[in-house]
Amino acid sequence: METLIQMLDTLCPMHLVLDRTGHIAHTGPTLAKLRPDELLTGQRFLEVFELRRPRSVINIDDLRQHAGSRLHLRFRAGAQTGLKGVMMPAPGAAGHMVVNLSFGISVVDAVREFALTGGDFAATDLTIEMLYLVEAKSAAMEASRKLNQKLEGAKIAAEEQAFTDTLTGLKNRRAMDHVLSRAVAGPGRFALLHLDLDFFKAVNDTLGHAAGDHVLQEVARILVEETRDEDTVARVGGDEFMLLFAGRMNRKRLADICDRLIARLERPIAFGTDNCRISASIGITMSEDYETLDRALLQEDADIALYASKHRGRACHTFYDLSLRTAALATAPQAPGGNMTLR
Protein backbone atom coordinates (compact mmCIF):
# COMPACT_ATOMS: atom_id res chain seq x y z
CA MET A 1 0.00 0.00 0.00
CA GLU A 2 2.86 2.37 0.85
CA THR A 3 4.43 2.04 -2.60
CA LEU A 4 1.03 2.46 -4.23
CA ILE A 5 0.48 5.71 -2.36
CA GLN A 6 3.92 7.00 -3.30
CA MET A 7 3.20 6.23 -6.90
CA LEU A 8 -0.24 7.86 -6.78
CA ASP A 9 1.10 11.02 -5.12
CA THR A 10 3.28 11.57 -8.18
CA LEU A 11 1.06 10.25 -10.95
CA CYS A 12 -2.21 11.75 -9.71
CA PRO A 13 -1.67 14.23 -6.88
CA MET A 14 -5.41 14.85 -6.56
CA HIS A 15 -6.35 11.33 -5.52
CA LEU A 16 -7.91 9.88 -2.40
CA VAL A 17 -7.54 6.38 -1.01
CA LEU A 18 -10.72 5.20 0.71
CA ASP A 19 -10.87 2.31 3.14
CA ARG A 20 -13.48 -0.44 3.18
CA THR A 21 -15.87 1.68 5.28
CA GLY A 22 -15.65 4.70 2.99
CA HIS A 23 -13.31 6.75 5.17
CA ILE A 24 -10.47 8.66 3.57
CA ALA A 25 -7.28 6.73 4.28
CA HIS A 26 -4.93 9.01 2.35
CA THR A 27 -5.19 12.43 0.62
CA GLY A 28 -3.09 13.32 -2.42
CA PRO A 29 -0.85 16.37 -1.87
CA THR A 30 -2.66 18.76 -4.28
CA LEU A 31 -6.09 17.81 -3.01
CA ALA A 32 -4.87 18.48 0.54
CA LYS A 33 -4.01 22.03 -0.58
CA LEU A 34 -7.68 22.71 -1.32
CA ARG A 35 -8.49 22.33 2.38
CA PRO A 36 -5.34 23.66 4.07
CA ASP A 37 -7.00 24.08 7.48
CA GLU A 38 -8.67 20.73 7.56
CA LEU A 39 -7.44 17.15 7.64
CA LEU A 40 -9.40 15.24 5.03
CA THR A 41 -7.79 11.93 5.96
CA GLY A 42 -9.96 10.15 8.51
CA GLN A 43 -13.21 11.78 7.39
CA ARG A 44 -15.99 9.93 5.64
CA PHE A 45 -15.70 10.47 1.89
CA LEU A 46 -19.42 11.02 1.28
CA GLU A 47 -19.60 13.49 4.16
CA VAL A 48 -16.81 15.61 2.70
CA PHE A 49 -18.05 15.42 -0.89
CA GLU A 50 -21.50 15.68 -2.39
CA LEU A 51 -21.89 13.33 -5.31
CA ARG A 52 -23.82 15.21 -7.98
CA ARG A 53 -23.65 12.49 -10.57
CA PRO A 54 -24.61 9.72 -10.40
CA ARG A 55 -27.28 10.90 -7.97
CA SER A 56 -28.24 7.42 -6.87
CA VAL A 57 -25.14 6.99 -4.70
CA ILE A 58 -26.26 7.14 -1.05
CA ASN A 59 -23.61 5.05 0.66
CA ILE A 60 -20.19 3.70 -0.01
CA ASP A 61 -21.49 0.37 -1.30
CA ASP A 62 -23.46 2.26 -3.98
CA LEU A 63 -20.24 4.03 -4.95
CA ARG A 64 -18.46 0.71 -5.24
CA GLN A 65 -20.90 -0.22 -8.00
CA HIS A 66 -19.70 2.69 -10.13
CA ALA A 67 -16.08 1.69 -10.58
CA GLY A 68 -14.65 3.21 -13.74
CA SER A 69 -17.50 5.57 -14.46
CA ARG A 70 -17.38 9.32 -14.50
CA LEU A 71 -18.20 11.05 -11.23
CA HIS A 72 -19.23 14.68 -10.68
CA LEU A 73 -18.84 15.97 -7.16
CA ARG A 74 -18.15 18.98 -5.03
CA PHE A 75 -17.15 19.83 -1.49
CA ARG A 76 -20.09 20.02 0.88
CA ALA A 77 -18.51 22.84 2.92
CA GLY A 78 -16.45 25.89 2.00
CA ALA A 79 -15.72 26.89 -1.60
CA GLN A 80 -17.88 24.54 -3.66
CA THR A 81 -15.35 23.94 -6.41
CA GLY A 82 -16.74 21.49 -8.94
CA LEU A 83 -14.67 18.34 -9.39
CA LYS A 84 -14.62 15.46 -11.82
CA GLY A 85 -13.43 12.07 -10.80
CA VAL A 86 -13.25 8.35 -11.29
CA MET A 87 -13.06 5.53 -8.74
CA MET A 88 -11.36 2.17 -9.03
CA PRO A 89 -10.90 -0.57 -6.44
CA ALA A 90 -7.36 -0.55 -5.05
CA PRO A 91 -5.31 -3.66 -5.84
CA GLY A 92 -4.63 -6.09 -3.04
CA ALA A 93 -5.85 -4.35 0.09
CA ALA A 94 -9.30 -5.63 0.89
CA GLY A 95 -12.08 -3.26 -0.04
CA HIS A 96 -9.91 -0.16 -0.54
CA MET A 97 -10.74 2.23 -3.37
CA VAL A 98 -8.82 4.94 -5.16
CA VAL A 99 -10.69 8.06 -6.31
CA ASN A 100 -8.81 10.34 -8.68
CA LEU A 101 -10.12 13.86 -9.00
CA SER A 102 -9.60 16.80 -11.34
CA PHE A 103 -10.93 20.32 -11.63
CA GLY A 104 -12.42 20.03 -15.08
CA ILE A 105 -13.37 23.36 -16.55
CA SER A 106 -13.29 25.12 -13.18
CA VAL A 107 -9.49 24.79 -13.19
CA VAL A 108 -8.83 28.45 -14.07
CA ASP A 109 -10.70 29.70 -11.01
CA ALA A 110 -9.42 26.89 -8.80
CA VAL A 111 -5.78 27.56 -9.58
CA ARG A 112 -6.24 31.19 -8.59
CA GLU A 113 -8.30 30.46 -5.54
CA PHE A 114 -5.97 27.85 -4.08
CA ALA A 115 -2.71 29.45 -5.33
CA LEU A 116 -1.64 26.24 -7.05
CA THR A 117 1.69 26.05 -8.86
CA GLY A 118 3.12 23.97 -11.69
CA GLY A 119 4.44 21.47 -9.14
CA ASP A 120 0.92 20.74 -7.92
CA PHE A 121 0.02 19.07 -11.18
CA ALA A 122 1.30 15.78 -12.53
CA ALA A 123 4.07 16.12 -15.11
CA THR A 124 1.71 14.73 -17.74
CA ASP A 125 -1.19 16.99 -16.77
CA LEU A 126 -2.08 19.56 -19.42
CA THR A 127 -3.41 22.09 -16.91
CA ILE A 128 -0.36 24.35 -17.24
CA GLU A 129 -0.68 24.33 -21.03
CA MET A 130 -4.36 25.10 -20.70
CA LEU A 131 -3.71 28.01 -18.35
CA TYR A 132 -1.04 29.25 -20.73
CA LEU A 133 -3.53 29.13 -23.59
CA VAL A 134 -6.28 30.85 -21.64
CA GLU A 135 -3.90 33.68 -20.80
CA ALA A 136 -2.29 33.93 -24.23
CA LYS A 137 -5.66 33.85 -25.97
CA SER A 138 -7.06 36.52 -23.67
CA ALA A 139 -4.11 38.76 -24.52
CA ALA A 140 -4.56 38.11 -28.25
CA MET A 141 -8.31 38.70 -28.01
CA GLU A 142 -7.69 41.95 -26.21
CA ALA A 143 -5.40 43.09 -29.01
CA SER A 144 -8.02 42.12 -31.59
CA ARG A 145 -10.75 43.85 -29.65
CA LYS A 146 -8.72 47.05 -29.52
CA LEU A 147 -8.06 46.90 -33.24
CA ASN A 148 -11.77 46.36 -33.91
CA GLN A 149 -12.67 49.29 -31.71
CA LYS A 150 -10.18 51.45 -33.52
CA LEU A 151 -11.51 50.40 -36.94
CA GLU A 152 -15.07 50.98 -35.79
CA GLY A 153 -14.07 54.47 -34.64
CA ALA A 154 -12.38 55.16 -37.97
CA LYS A 155 -15.49 53.98 -39.82
CA ILE A 156 -17.74 56.30 -37.84
CA ALA A 157 -15.33 59.19 -38.40
CA ALA A 158 -15.25 58.45 -42.13
CA GLU A 159 -19.04 58.36 -42.25
CA GLU A 160 -19.22 61.67 -40.43
CA GLN A 161 -16.83 63.19 -42.90
CA ALA A 162 -18.62 61.70 -45.88
CA PHE A 163 -20.34 63.94 -48.40
CA THR A 164 -22.83 61.43 -49.65
CA ASP A 165 -26.31 60.58 -48.46
CA THR A 166 -26.18 56.80 -48.31
CA LEU A 167 -29.87 56.23 -49.05
CA THR A 168 -30.16 58.27 -52.24
CA GLY A 169 -26.55 58.66 -53.36
CA LEU A 170 -27.13 62.42 -53.49
CA LYS A 171 -24.83 64.85 -51.71
CA ASN A 172 -25.66 65.44 -48.04
CA ARG A 173 -26.08 68.63 -46.03
CA ARG A 174 -22.36 68.77 -45.25
CA ALA A 175 -21.52 68.64 -48.95
CA MET A 176 -24.17 71.23 -49.76
CA ASP A 177 -22.71 73.58 -47.15
CA HIS A 178 -19.32 73.24 -48.85
CA VAL A 179 -20.70 73.79 -52.34
CA LEU A 180 -22.74 76.77 -51.20
CA SER A 181 -19.77 78.30 -49.38
CA ARG A 182 -17.74 77.99 -52.54
CA ALA A 183 -20.51 79.54 -54.63
CA VAL A 184 -20.90 82.38 -52.13
CA ALA A 185 -17.18 83.11 -52.27
CA GLY A 186 -16.96 82.80 -56.05
CA PRO A 187 -17.77 85.31 -58.77
CA GLY A 188 -20.56 83.37 -60.52
CA ARG A 189 -24.28 83.79 -60.10
CA PHE A 190 -26.49 80.97 -58.88
CA ALA A 191 -29.91 80.12 -57.56
CA LEU A 192 -30.67 78.13 -54.43
CA LEU A 193 -33.80 75.99 -54.20
CA HIS A 194 -35.13 74.43 -51.04
CA LEU A 195 -37.52 71.60 -51.87
CA ASP A 196 -39.69 69.80 -49.35
CA LEU A 197 -41.84 66.81 -50.26
CA ASP A 198 -45.57 67.11 -49.61
CA PHE A 199 -47.57 64.15 -48.28
CA PHE A 200 -44.40 62.13 -47.78
CA LYS A 201 -45.25 61.46 -44.15
CA ALA A 202 -48.49 59.83 -45.30
CA VAL A 203 -46.52 57.40 -47.50
CA ASN A 204 -44.27 56.50 -44.61
CA ASP A 205 -47.17 56.11 -42.21
CA THR A 206 -49.46 54.06 -44.42
CA LEU A 207 -47.06 52.03 -46.55
CA GLY A 208 -44.06 51.85 -44.24
CA HIS A 209 -40.47 52.96 -44.27
CA ALA A 210 -39.47 50.70 -47.15
CA ALA A 211 -41.96 52.53 -49.35
CA GLY A 212 -40.72 55.85 -47.99
CA ASP A 213 -37.14 54.94 -48.81
CA HIS A 214 -38.14 53.87 -52.29
CA VAL A 215 -39.93 57.18 -52.86
CA LEU A 216 -36.89 59.12 -51.69
CA GLN A 217 -34.70 57.19 -54.13
CA GLU A 218 -37.12 57.89 -56.98
CA VAL A 219 -37.25 61.56 -56.05
CA ALA A 220 -33.47 61.67 -56.08
CA ARG A 221 -33.42 60.09 -59.54
CA ILE A 222 -35.90 62.65 -60.87
CA LEU A 223 -34.01 65.57 -59.35
CA VAL A 224 -30.77 64.39 -60.93
CA GLU A 225 -32.47 63.88 -64.32
CA GLU A 226 -33.99 67.34 -64.25
CA THR A 227 -30.74 69.11 -63.43
CA ARG A 228 -27.46 69.62 -65.27
CA ASP A 229 -24.07 68.21 -64.31
CA GLU A 230 -22.88 71.58 -63.06
CA ASP A 231 -25.84 71.86 -60.67
CA THR A 232 -25.78 70.37 -57.18
CA VAL A 233 -28.56 68.23 -55.68
CA ALA A 234 -28.45 67.34 -52.00
CA ARG A 235 -30.73 65.62 -49.53
CA VAL A 236 -30.44 67.80 -46.46
CA GLY A 237 -33.05 66.23 -44.20
CA GLY A 238 -35.63 63.42 -44.05
CA ASP A 239 -37.70 64.63 -47.02
CA GLU A 240 -35.89 67.93 -47.67
CA PHE A 241 -33.67 68.61 -50.64
CA MET A 242 -31.53 71.53 -51.73
CA LEU A 243 -30.63 72.32 -55.32
CA LEU A 244 -28.04 74.78 -56.44
CA PHE A 245 -28.29 75.97 -60.06
CA ALA A 246 -25.01 77.39 -61.23
CA GLY A 247 -24.79 80.27 -63.71
CA ARG A 248 -27.07 83.09 -64.66
CA MET A 249 -30.72 82.06 -64.26
CA ASN A 250 -33.84 84.14 -64.82
CA ARG A 251 -37.08 83.76 -62.91
CA LYS A 252 -39.00 82.47 -65.89
CA ARG A 253 -36.56 79.65 -66.44
CA LEU A 254 -36.46 78.75 -62.75
CA ALA A 255 -40.26 78.81 -62.60
CA ASP A 256 -40.41 76.41 -65.58
CA ILE A 257 -37.92 74.09 -63.93
CA CYS A 258 -39.97 74.10 -60.71
CA ASP A 259 -43.22 73.39 -62.53
CA ARG A 260 -41.61 70.51 -64.39
CA LEU A 261 -40.11 69.11 -61.18
CA ILE A 262 -43.40 69.27 -59.33
CA ALA A 263 -45.26 67.71 -62.24
CA ARG A 264 -42.86 64.81 -62.40
CA LEU A 265 -42.87 64.29 -58.65
CA GLU A 266 -46.68 64.18 -58.67
CA ARG A 267 -46.72 61.20 -61.00
CA PRO A 268 -47.58 58.15 -58.86
CA ILE A 269 -44.51 56.17 -57.82
CA ALA A 270 -45.11 52.43 -57.88
CA PHE A 271 -44.08 50.43 -54.88
CA GLY A 272 -45.10 46.82 -55.24
CA THR A 273 -48.83 46.92 -55.91
CA ASP A 274 -49.20 50.32 -54.26
CA ASN A 275 -48.92 53.75 -55.80
CA CYS A 276 -47.28 56.43 -53.73
CA ARG A 277 -48.53 59.96 -54.38
CA ILE A 278 -46.51 62.92 -53.26
CA SER A 279 -45.83 66.45 -54.40
CA ALA A 280 -43.32 69.13 -53.53
CA SER A 281 -43.14 72.70 -52.28
CA ILE A 282 -40.19 74.82 -53.32
CA GLY A 283 -38.59 78.01 -52.09
CA ILE A 284 -36.13 79.88 -54.33
CA THR A 285 -33.60 82.57 -53.72
CA MET A 286 -31.20 84.06 -56.27
CA SER A 287 -27.68 85.33 -55.66
CA GLU A 288 -28.25 88.40 -57.86
CA ASP A 289 -30.77 89.75 -55.31
CA TYR A 290 -28.06 90.27 -52.70
CA GLU A 291 -25.40 92.94 -52.40
CA THR A 292 -23.23 90.73 -50.20
CA LEU A 293 -23.68 86.99 -50.09
CA ASP A 294 -23.95 85.08 -46.85
CA ARG A 295 -24.43 81.33 -46.87
CA ALA A 296 -26.59 81.15 -43.77
CA LEU A 297 -28.78 84.02 -44.97
CA LEU A 298 -29.31 82.42 -48.37
CA GLN A 299 -30.35 79.16 -46.75
CA GLU A 300 -32.70 80.98 -44.42
CA ASP A 301 -34.29 82.94 -47.25
CA ALA A 302 -34.80 79.81 -49.37
CA ASP A 303 -36.40 78.27 -46.30
CA ILE A 304 -38.73 81.24 -45.81
CA ALA A 305 -39.77 81.07 -49.48
CA LEU A 306 -40.41 77.34 -49.09
CA TYR A 307 -42.59 78.05 -46.08
CA ALA A 308 -44.56 80.55 -48.12
CA SER A 309 -45.21 77.82 -50.72
CA LYS A 310 -46.45 75.51 -47.98
CA HIS A 311 -48.62 78.28 -46.69
CA ARG A 312 -50.11 78.88 -50.11
CA GLY A 313 -51.37 75.33 -50.27
CA ARG A 314 -48.26 73.30 -51.22
CA ALA A 315 -47.29 71.85 -54.62
CA CYS A 316 -45.99 75.21 -55.79
CA HIS A 317 -42.87 77.37 -55.78
CA THR A 318 -42.17 80.82 -54.32
CA PHE A 319 -39.37 83.31 -54.93
CA TYR A 320 -37.99 84.92 -51.83
CA ASP A 321 -38.51 88.61 -51.21
CA LEU A 322 -38.36 90.75 -48.11
CA SER A 323 -42.15 90.87 -47.57
CA LEU A 324 -42.14 87.08 -47.06
CA ARG A 325 -39.72 87.43 -44.20
CA THR A 326 -42.00 89.88 -42.41
CA ALA A 327 -44.99 87.62 -43.02
CA ALA A 328 -43.08 84.55 -41.91
CA LEU A 329 -41.97 86.19 -38.69
CA ALA A 330 -45.56 87.20 -38.01
CA THR A 331 -47.09 83.78 -38.60
CA ALA A 332 -44.27 81.40 -37.78
CA PRO A 333 -45.49 80.49 -34.27
CA GLN A 334 -48.82 79.21 -35.65
CA ALA A 335 -47.26 77.57 -38.70
CA PRO A 336 -49.20 74.48 -39.78
CA GLY A 337 -47.46 71.27 -40.70
CA GLY A 338 -44.37 72.01 -38.65
CA ASN A 339 -42.05 72.03 -41.64
CA MET A 340 -41.05 75.62 -41.15
CA THR A 341 -37.89 76.27 -39.27
CA LEU A 342 -36.19 79.63 -39.02
CA ARG A 343 -32.47 78.98 -38.79
Partner: protein
Protein backbone atom coordinates in the same frame (compact mmCIF):
# COMPACT_ATOMS: atom_id res chain seq x y z
CA UNK B 1 6.76 40.87 -40.04
CA UNK B 2 4.01 40.28 -37.53
CA UNK B 3 2.64 43.47 -36.01
CA UNK B 4 3.11 42.06 -32.50
CA UNK B 5 6.88 42.14 -33.00
CA UNK B 6 6.93 45.67 -34.43
CA UNK B 7 4.53 46.75 -31.73
CA UNK B 8 6.83 45.30 -29.05
CA UNK B 9 9.78 47.26 -30.45
CA UNK B 10 7.64 50.40 -30.62
CA UNK B 11 6.49 50.03 -26.99
CA UNK B 12 10.08 49.44 -25.88
CA UNK B 13 11.16 52.71 -27.48
CA UNK B 14 8.16 54.73 -26.37
CA UNK B 15 8.15 53.47 -22.77
CA UNK B 16 11.92 53.85 -22.43
CA UNK B 17 12.57 57.14 -24.24
CA UNK B 18 9.15 58.80 -24.17
CA UNK B 19 6.28 59.43 -26.56
CA UNK B 20 7.90 62.50 -28.22
CA UNK B 21 10.99 60.42 -29.05
CA UNK B 22 8.74 57.81 -30.66
CA UNK B 23 6.98 60.59 -32.58
CA UNK B 24 10.33 61.78 -33.93
CA UNK B 25 11.21 58.27 -34.99
CA UNK B 26 7.88 57.88 -36.79
CA UNK B 27 8.64 61.05 -38.76
CA UNK B 28 12.16 59.97 -39.64
CA UNK B 29 10.87 56.58 -40.78
CA UNK B 30 8.22 58.44 -42.80
CA UNK B 31 5.48 56.13 -41.57
CA UNK B 32 1.94 57.04 -42.54
CA UNK B 33 0.67 55.80 -39.17
CA UNK B 34 1.75 56.55 -35.62
CA UNK B 35 1.63 53.10 -34.12
CA UNK B 36 1.89 49.50 -35.18
CA UNK B 37 -1.21 47.35 -34.91
CA UNK B 38 -0.37 44.13 -33.09
CA UNK B 39 -2.78 42.10 -35.22
CA UNK B 40 -1.62 43.29 -38.66
CA UNK B 41 1.43 42.45 -40.76
CA UNK B 42 4.17 44.77 -41.99
CA UNK B 43 7.06 44.47 -44.43
CA UNK B 44 10.21 42.85 -43.01
CA UNK B 45 12.50 45.67 -44.11
CA UNK B 46 10.49 48.16 -42.05
CA UNK B 47 11.45 46.31 -38.86
CA UNK B 48 15.12 46.47 -39.80
CA UNK B 49 14.91 50.16 -40.75
CA UNK B 50 13.23 50.91 -37.44
CA UNK B 51 15.98 49.16 -35.45
CA UNK B 52 18.72 50.87 -37.51
CA UNK B 53 17.10 54.25 -36.93
CA UNK B 54 16.85 53.60 -33.19
CA UNK B 55 20.51 52.60 -33.05
CA UNK B 56 21.59 55.78 -34.87
CA UNK B 57 19.39 58.00 -32.72
CA UNK B 58 20.51 56.44 -29.45
CA UNK B 59 24.16 56.20 -30.48
CA UNK B 60 24.18 52.49 -29.65
CA UNK B 61 24.94 49.52 -31.86
CA UNK B 62 21.93 47.59 -33.07
CA UNK B 63 22.87 44.52 -31.03
CA UNK B 64 22.59 46.56 -27.85
CA UNK B 65 19.25 48.03 -28.92
CA UNK B 66 17.91 44.54 -29.64
CA UNK B 67 19.11 43.22 -26.30
CA UNK B 68 17.43 46.18 -24.58
CA UNK B 69 14.20 45.26 -26.36
CA UNK B 70 14.45 41.75 -24.90
CA UNK B 71 15.12 43.02 -21.39
CA UNK B 72 12.25 45.48 -21.67
CA UNK B 73 9.79 42.76 -22.76
CA UNK B 74 10.35 40.77 -19.59
CA UNK B 75 11.19 43.29 -16.93
CA UNK B 76 9.10 46.36 -17.73
CA UNK B 77 5.91 46.46 -15.66
CA UNK B 78 4.06 47.94 -18.65
CA UNK B 79 4.23 44.61 -20.46
CA UNK B 80 3.37 41.81 -18.12
CA UNK B 81 2.12 39.27 -20.68
CA UNK B 82 5.43 37.98 -22.20
CA UNK B 83 6.99 37.38 -18.80
CA UNK B 84 3.94 35.55 -17.52
CA UNK B 85 3.56 33.46 -20.66
CA UNK B 86 7.23 32.45 -20.55
CA UNK B 87 6.93 31.55 -16.87
CA UNK B 88 4.39 28.92 -17.89
CA UNK B 89 7.39 27.18 -19.46
CA UNK B 90 8.52 25.70 -16.18
CA UNK B 91 8.95 25.81 -12.44
CA UNK B 92 12.69 26.42 -12.58
CA UNK B 93 15.01 28.28 -14.92
CA UNK B 94 16.29 24.92 -16.14
CA UNK B 95 12.76 23.79 -17.00
CA UNK B 96 12.24 27.12 -18.68
CA UNK B 97 15.37 26.67 -20.83
CA UNK B 98 14.13 23.28 -21.98
CA UNK B 99 10.72 24.73 -22.79
CA UNK B 100 12.25 27.13 -25.33
CA UNK B 101 12.23 24.45 -28.05
CA UNK B 102 8.43 24.59 -27.88
CA UNK B 103 8.23 28.38 -27.84
CA UNK B 104 7.39 28.91 -31.55
CA UNK B 105 4.63 26.28 -31.31
CA UNK B 106 3.28 27.83 -28.13
CA UNK B 107 3.25 31.25 -29.77
CA UNK B 108 1.38 29.86 -32.76
CA UNK B 109 -1.25 28.32 -30.48
CA UNK B 110 -1.94 31.77 -29.09
CA UNK B 111 -1.67 33.79 -32.29
CA UNK B 112 -2.07 31.59 -35.33
CA UNK B 113 -0.07 33.70 -37.78
CA UNK B 114 2.77 34.60 -35.45
CA UNK B 115 5.92 32.92 -36.74
CA UNK B 116 8.81 33.05 -34.27
CA UNK B 117 12.33 31.90 -35.15
CA UNK B 118 13.04 28.21 -34.62
CA UNK B 119 14.84 27.57 -31.32
CA UNK B 120 16.99 24.59 -30.42
CA UNK B 121 18.53 24.10 -27.01
CA UNK B 122 21.62 21.94 -26.79
CA UNK B 123 22.62 20.62 -23.38
CA UNK B 124 26.37 20.02 -23.06
CA UNK B 125 26.20 18.91 -19.42
CA UNK B 126 27.82 20.72 -16.54
CA UNK B 127 25.11 23.37 -16.77
CA UNK B 128 26.40 24.53 -20.14
CA UNK B 129 23.99 25.02 -23.01
CA UNK B 130 23.74 26.66 -26.33
CA UNK B 131 20.59 28.04 -27.89
CA UNK B 132 20.46 28.05 -31.68
CA UNK B 133 18.04 30.45 -33.19
CA UNK B 134 17.25 30.72 -36.88
CA UNK B 135 14.83 32.93 -38.76
CA UNK B 136 13.53 36.45 -39.02
CA UNK B 137 13.95 39.12 -37.88
CA UNK B 138 17.71 39.23 -38.24
CA UNK B 139 19.35 39.83 -34.89
CA UNK B 140 16.55 38.20 -32.91
CA UNK B 141 19.27 36.31 -31.01
CA UNK B 142 20.24 39.55 -29.31
CA UNK B 143 16.63 40.07 -28.25
CA UNK B 144 16.75 36.56 -26.81
CA UNK B 145 19.88 37.37 -24.83
CA UNK B 146 17.96 40.22 -23.20
CA UNK B 147 14.96 37.97 -22.61
CA UNK B 148 17.09 35.17 -21.10
CA UNK B 149 18.93 37.57 -18.82
CA UNK B 150 15.69 39.08 -17.54
CA UNK B 151 14.07 35.66 -17.15
CA UNK B 152 17.09 34.41 -15.16
CA UNK B 153 16.58 37.36 -12.81
CA UNK B 154 12.91 36.52 -12.67
CA UNK B 155 13.66 32.94 -11.58
CA UNK B 156 16.45 34.09 -9.29
CA UNK B 157 19.06 32.18 -11.30
CA UNK B 158 22.62 33.32 -12.00
CA UNK B 159 23.67 32.85 -15.64
CA UNK B 160 26.39 33.84 -18.07
CA UNK B 161 25.17 34.59 -21.56
CA UNK B 162 27.11 35.26 -24.70
CA UNK B 163 25.94 35.82 -28.25
CA UNK B 164 28.50 33.93 -30.36
CA UNK B 165 27.38 35.16 -33.75
CA UNK B 166 26.33 32.77 -36.46
CA UNK B 167 26.78 29.01 -36.31
CA UNK B 168 25.71 27.15 -39.48
CA UNK B 169 23.35 29.95 -40.36
CA UNK B 170 21.78 30.17 -36.93
CA UNK B 171 22.48 32.69 -34.21
CA UNK B 172 24.22 30.93 -31.36
CA UNK B 173 23.82 31.91 -27.71
CA UNK B 174 26.03 30.25 -25.12
CA UNK B 175 24.42 29.83 -21.73
CA UNK B 176 26.11 28.85 -18.48
CA UNK B 177 23.81 28.29 -15.53
CA UNK B 178 26.07 29.20 -12.62
CA UNK B 179 23.50 28.85 -9.89
CA UNK B 180 19.87 27.92 -10.28
CA UNK B 181 18.74 29.40 -6.96
CA UNK B 182 21.02 32.39 -6.63
CA UNK B 183 18.42 34.90 -5.47
CA UNK B 184 14.80 35.03 -4.46
CA UNK B 185 13.39 35.81 -7.91
CA UNK B 186 9.92 37.17 -8.60
CA UNK B 187 6.91 35.21 -7.51
CA UNK B 188 4.73 33.69 -10.16
CA UNK B 189 1.15 32.63 -9.59
CA UNK B 190 -0.43 30.50 -12.25
CA UNK B 191 -3.85 31.91 -11.56
CA UNK B 192 -3.44 35.60 -12.30
CA UNK B 193 -4.63 35.21 -15.86
CA UNK B 194 -7.90 37.08 -15.78
CA UNK B 195 -6.90 39.71 -13.28
CA UNK B 196 -4.00 40.96 -15.35
CA UNK B 197 -5.07 40.83 -18.99
CA UNK B 198 -2.43 42.17 -21.36
Amino acid sequence: MHGLINRAIQCFYRDTYGAPAWGDLVRRLELDFTEFEPMLHYGNDLTQRMIDEMAVTLGKDRETVLEDVGTYLISNPAVEAPRRLLRFGGETFLDFLHSLDDLPDRARLAVEDLVLPALELRDYGGNRFSLLCSGEPRGIGHVLVGVLRAMADDYGALVFLEHQGLFRGAENIEITLVEAAFAEGRSFELGMARAEGT
